[in-house]
Each structure stands twice: as C-alpha cells, then as structure tokens.
C-alpha cells in the first residue's frame, strides 16, 4: 500500500500547504471536524519546530510528512535531515503561564496519543505521531 506523503521546503510559507493536506487526510480518516482542526494544528506545530530547531531557520532544507491511515490509527511521520532533537524536547512547561514560547508542544500532545522519535534514524529526525481512532484514544 502506498502511503500519501508531501515533501515541502523548510520555509514557513509552505506550512499552509501542509495544513491543507492534513485537513484532507483528516476528513479521509473520518475524524470529526474538531479532531481535524486539532491534528492540523499539531502537524503544523511539529513542522514549525523542524524549521526552527532542526534546521535553525534554514528555509532551503526538506521536510517530508507521511500519512498512514488504518481503521484504528492515524499515523503521521515527519522526517527531516537537520540537527538531532534534544532528549528532553517533550518536556512541557506548565500550561497557563504567561511566557512567550512552549505552547506548540501542548498542542501536539493534545492531538496525538503517542509522540516519539524513531531512534533508528541516523541522519536527522523521524517524529512519529499516532492518534487512535477508537475507544483506546483519550482524545
């Protein structure tokens, strides 16, 4: 089976393209409208993190977003070839505090049940985001 995917330059102006694709994928996956919005925002945030942190705002690199749609799970995989993510990058700061960053991770965790890096990837990062579509999901 061929999984749908999109490859974009690491330029923020292409994030809207990612959002449009994710919105369609969410509809194809039979997610509710609210869930589609949450997943779209989360994938946008994850790609924005790649641009800022993995590629240090170099807009001429590559981001690959791949979707694996099954009956029970929507999996989104985001590949880059930039700097390795820090091991503590999933540690959230408390919600509700007045600060000028750190909100994106909360929005990613809201949309997906499982968030993890594929540690077997040698060059760059492969972020795997899984959302369960059945009662096992807490979303």
């Amino acid at each position: 089976m061929i999984n749908p995917s999109i490859t974009i330059p690491s330029n923020p102006k292409y994030l809207r393209l990612v959002r449009a694709v994710v919105a369609t994928i969410g509809q194809v996956s039979d997610l509710s409208d609210d869930s589609v919005d949450q997943v779209m925002l989360a994938v946008d945030e994850a790609c924005a993190n790649v641009i800022r942190h993995a590629y240090n705002n170099d807009f001429n690199k590559e981001i690959i977003v791949t979707f694996n749609i099954s009956k029970d799970i929507l999996e989104v995989t985001i590949d880059d070839y930039g700097k390795k993510a820090e091991p503590d990058c999933f540690n959230c700061q408390p919600i509700g505090e007045i600060r000028t960053g750190g909100y994106g991770l909360h929005l990613i965790k809201r949309a997906f049940d499982v968030i993890k890096y594929d540690e077997t990837k040698k060059n760059g990062n492969r972020l795997r985001l899984l959302r369960y579509k059945n009662e096992n999901s807490n979303k």
Binding site: L41, A48, G96, I98, Y103, H106
Partner: protein, 107 residues
C-alpha cells in the same frame, strides 16, 4: 495575513485577516512592537477575519501583553472566532487576556 491599523479612541485598532502562523506572525510582531514603543494605549486586535492561529501567533500576543504591562497599557482582543478562542481556552490564556466580542464593548 493582512493587517489594517486605524486609530480608535485614544489608541489603535489592528484588524487582522487570514492565517497567523510561523510565516506571518513576525509581521504582526513588528506591527505591534512599533506601537508599543510609542506607548500607544489601548491596542485593540480584531480577529474577526482571522481563520487560523498557531503557537507563534499566540506567543506574539503574549509578548505584546507583557511589554504593554510595563507602561500599564491595555491589549484587548476582540471578535475571536470559535475555532481560535478554543486554543486560548486550551492553553488557559482566556483569562490572561482581555477578550471582547466587539470593539464597542471594550469600554
């Protein structure tokens, strides 16, 4: 994103339209900082025609809020669509900002 700014009472109203994301939030930040440096008060930000806000947009507004507090300025957010206010609520920021349904109810 488009930005249209007009005077409003003793301050200004910044009307936004389109998406506020990693591409466009720097432009919003520049606009707000320009007026904050002049200690304009109040600054109203109108979201009626905004379709999308990501965390960089939220962070831009939080930064503006903090900077305005230094001179007792007031940042008021108005006409935030349901899909966007839901993000403020999730991040527990709905009580951090002054949020109004429209400009006439800002006082």
């Amino acid at each position: 994103m488009k930005i249209v700014t007009n005077s409003f009472k003793s301050g200004i109203i910044v009307r936004l339209s389109g998406d506020i994301d990693l591409e466009t939030s720097p432009e919003l930040r520049t606009e707000l900082i320009t007026y904050i440096r002049k200690k304009i008060n109040p600054i109203l930000v109108d979201f009626e025609a905004v379709s999308y806000v990501d965390s960089s947009g939220i962070a831009t507004l939080v930064e503006a809020l903090k900077l305005m507090r230094a001179y007792n300025g007031s940042l008021k957010l108005i006409a935030i669509p349901k899909s966007v206010i839901e993000i403020f609520n999730f991040l527990k920021l709905e009580k951090v900002f002054e949020i109004y349904s429209d400009a006439s109810s800002c006082g």
